[in-house]
Amino acid sequence: MTRPPLKLTDRIARALPQIVVAPSFAAILFFVYGFIIWTGYISLTKSKMLPNYNLIGFRPYERLFQMDRWSVALENLFVFGFLFIFAAIVIGCLLAILLDQKIRAEGFIRTIYLYPMAISFIITGTAWKWIMNPSLGLETVVRGWGWESFSFGWTNSETMAVYALVMAAVWQSAGFVMALFLSALRSVDQDIIKAASLDGASPWRIYIRIILPSMRPVFMSAVVILAHLAIKSFDLVVALTGGGPGYASTLPANFMYEMTFRRNEIGVGAASAMVMLATVAAIMVPYLYSELRGKKHV
């Protein structure tokens, strides 16, 4: 069957979506994927101060994994990432459920919880640095009230500094997670809930069995957003602990910056960036795959 020839305007109209999307597609292709490939290439070279294009194999990776600073950073990423995502979701979810009980002044309270999200991590970090400073902050205040043995010097402790990061990050992000969950809670079909309560299900059971499972896509959004926040965390560390004491609370992003821009070790810096990318991919790709595939079947 022959189709009648298209008029020029029709052709343009048909191609318009592609034309509009093309520039941003090209930009992303070049600036994101192009630079990923470039970084991958550089991570296999002996680049020091300037990029050097002679391949030397996996030596930068070997050096990377022999560095104590890197193992500390990687370990911190797992501790920080896991606790941050877990705590932000649990606290955000709880807040959302509590706010959903048709309480008074809900709009006002919701705004209060959501506000930390409007602050940059630099501010959060600086504020918490003061709060957690033993001689300026909470510790002095509580001791002033008479609890003499109270101690809250997390940022000054080698073992606790990474938990100080978690606390500040959760404080900042829990309100956002709450907003996500709250909107999801509101969109759950009320008829199902009514039916369940007519059948004699307790509110607890309704939440566990009906409401939370129906919010699965929101969990996914929350995990995706929080995971990328965790992995790219840089400014929070700089402002809150400066990576210290020593380098006990550095994260891989800080390591990458230190190597690439301060120590003239572009090769090792690029290798650490690739490991970070691989870490993200290892966590996110299977998750996204299973979630998105699952959706299609429904």
Binding site: T155, G244, N264
Partner: protein, 418 residues
């Protein structure tokens, strides 16, 4: 990775705007620097005025922040794009690395006309020369191994500024017993490393410092002397207050000023803080070198001159080089910055007692062969090795690692960084 691409893009965009400036026949120089605050900004302005007075056109390219990290990113992009600025504030082994990359200009003609060889100490010439030719111009010398002490606080325990490390420990113990913080210190890696290198110089001596921190001799790095150095560092840890992690150096200086702490080990940029508070050297505070056998750890800022094209740029660059090492600018600049001139023949009249002591010590150290580059401030070692030293020094200082473990970590880290 995002950071790399981002800074590359912004640097490229930045260089594009500079490329658009029209060329003139007058001497012209684009100066990339990170002296953007307080006394440093005033010092740069004085250079700018002197340059303009000689008919030069100054293109200012300040990159604030990060102690030069941000500038380094811009510089890399500019050089890769084939459009380097005429003069860039870089120092130490970075100069050698850029020279090796073939990016620096030869300043021999200015140097011989101005007779630089006669006025610069050999240790400083080594920093700014590549294969026997000048490629950079030193601006100043900061001494690193200083103790800044509050005499009133020391008098409370009947002590004076210690001249040996044993005396330092004895005085510090007395201060602790009297409930005074002996050492004001900021727990940032570079500050830990600053204390570390003064201890290496003091406990190990000049030769040991040279072997271990300059020549990276593995035997010296793994020696019992290094164990003793870390033992002393562990003692120093006991002399700082519990709130030290993350504190900025100037806040530590303020603790000495207010009498909360007795001493601080810091380079002579600390003097600027005392001066700004109207304190008088010798009366309100004392500057003394840290205990060592006439050692002198120097930190020197300099401007590296990049290979530029165009007669106006070349002329501007030569004029700038001449002015930077001229006695007039060396005097004005260093009075503002709190450091001392890199050349030894600058009139001393306007400098304070600490600066004059520093000048005397530098001359005698240069003669005695005890003038050494600072490791912590990136003169003796470049980024990677310096970073390895700092990592171990700071990890030891901020944990309960044993001295033996620190020494073995140090040897491994230095091998890895080389």
């Amino acid at each position: 990775m995002k950071t790399i691409s981002l800074s590359l893009v912004s640097a490229l965009a930045l260089s594009a705007t500079f490329m658009a400036t029209p060329s003139l026949a007058n001497p012209k120089a684009e100066v990339l620097h990170y002296w953007t605050s307080g006394g440093e900004a005033a010092a740069v302005k004085s250079l700018q005025e002197a340059f303009a007075a000689r008919g030069g056109e100054w293109v200012d390219a300040p990159v604030a922040g990060g102690g030069g990290d941000a500038q380094a990113a811009v510089l890399r992009a500019r050089v890769l794009a084939g459009d380097p600025p005429a003069a860039v504030q870089i120092k130490g082994p970075n100069i050698q690395e850029w020279a090796e990359a073939g990016a620096l200009a030869d300043l021999s003609s200015v140097a011989s006309a101005q007779n630089w060889d006669a006025v610069l100490p050999a240790a400083i010439q080594d920093i700014v020369k590549y294969e026997g030719n000048y490629v950079a111009v030193p601006v100043n010398v900061h001494r690193v191994d200083w103790i800044w002490a509050n005499p009133e606080v020391l008098a409370k325990v009947g002590a004076t500024v210690p001249t040996t490390w044993d005396e330092f420990n004895a005085t510090a113990d007395k201060l602790l017993a009297a409930g005074i913080i002996p050492l004001a210190h900021g727990g940032q890696p570079w500050q830990d490393a600053t204390v570390f290198e003064t201890v290496v110089l003091g406990i190990g001596g000049v030769d040991f410092y040279r072997k271990a921190l300059v020549d990276l001799d593995m035997d010296a790095l793994g020696s019992d002397t290094m164990v003793k150095v870390f033992d002393q560092m562990r003692k120093m840890r006991g002399y700082v207050d519990p709130d030290f992690p993350g504190r900025d150096w100037n806040l530590a200086t303020a603790m000495v000023m207010r009498g909360e702490a007795a001493m601080q080990i810091m380079g002579d940029w600390a003097k600027g803080e005392f001066a700004a508070a109207g304190k008088v050297p010798g009366k309100d505070y004392i500057c003394a070198s840290t205990p060592s056998e006439n050692g002198y750890l120097l930190n020197s800022d300099s401007f590296a001159m990049f290979e530029v094209s165009g007669e106006d740029n070349k002329q501007g660059q030569a004029l700038l080089a001449e002015l930077i090492l001229g006695t007039e600018f060396q005097e004005t600049f260093n009075l503002l910055k709190g450091s001392i001139p890199a050349r030894t023949d600058v009139p001393r009249g306007k400098f304070d007692d600490c600066a004059i002591k520093s000048m005397d010590d530098m001359v005698s150290a240069a003669e005695g062969g005890t003038l050494l580059g600072s490791m912590a401030h990136e003169i003796a070692q470049s980024g990677a090795v310096r970073g390895a030293f700092i990592d171990v020094a700071t990890a030891h200082f901020n944990s309960d690692m044993s001295s033996e473990e620190a020494v073995s970590k140090l040897v491994d880290a230095i091998k890895l960084a080389q």
